[in-house]
Amino acid sequence: MKKSVLNKKLIGKQYPAITYKIKKDMLVSFAKATEQVNPIFFDEQIAKEKGHPTIVAPPTFLTVVTMQQEKPYEYLEKINISLSSVLHAGQEYSYYHPIYAGDEIKMKYKIDDIYDKKNGLITFIAFRSKYINQNNIKVAESVSTLVIR
């Protein structure tokens, strides 16, 4: 039986908040990369005609907030997890308010849980993030779970 590679005392660890401004062209290229067909995700004119103030962020767009940082995997390095040892095991989103081009999103995140399966052979780590827009409205929350191989 292998001992868990992560100290459970890390549960609750907060990271410094990240701020990310959602530019229109980021939404457009994300929509292209995920092959969106609904124009509200890439065409401002049509989005407006459909009653939105501007281009809408699709359901998985918030993943970009962490990834577009200068050192996107620093949050793992800080707790001595190497990128090559992890796989994405699960992703949960709760949505509270629409997210649009031009929004400035502040992301606050922490280690929510660390747990083992199969008698300690596999360790999971879950990060919980809260996303708050420029008007101080909580727009979403997410839990991202990684499995450490």
Partner: protein, 142 residues
């Protein structure tokens, strides 16, 4: 099944499915640029092979994005309250995927709002589950 009126789904109804015919290396490069996720396991074959994989693997979040697309093809973005995925197996280059959703619960609250629970999955053409997921949808009465 395609429904124009999204209030009319019943338990057991399937959402209109979405087929992803082929995921290429180009799809992964494009997703890496758009998302900022340049993890070499998705882009560098040698790196992936060093970790015992036959080739690069597809970003889980790209596959979840396809699933999200299926969901927003039927339900307006603003009606989605929560959406989650468990990544069950790795998605490979050239995989053909089908994204499916089924209504498993429908409730109407005292104000007449409709709440659906939707069971989601992404399956490869060799019938391996890639994602199992779920979503909650609220259609407000107005």
């Amino acid at each position: 099944m395609m429904l124009d009126d999204i209030t009319q789904f019943e338990v057991g109804d399937q959402l209109s499915p979405l087929i992803i015919n082929k995921i290429t290396k180009k799809s992964l490069k494009r997703y890496a640029r758009a998302s900022g996720d340049y993890n070499p396991i998705h882009l560098d074959k040698d790196f992936a092979q060093k970790y015992g994989l036959p080739n690069v693997i597809v970003h889980g979040m790209l596959v979840m994005s396809y699933l999200g697309r299926m969901l927003t093809n039927t339900f307006p973005q603003a009606t989605i309250v929560d959406f989650s995925s468990q990544f069950i197996s790795m998605t490979h280059i050239n995989d053909k995927l089908s994204c499916a959703g089924k209504i498993i619960k429908k409730t109407t609250d005292i104000s007449g709002n409709i709440i659906y629970k939707v069971q989601l999955k992404v399956v490869s053409d060799n019938n391996e589950k890639r994602i199992i997921g779920k979503a909650s949808i609220i259609i407000l009465e107005n």
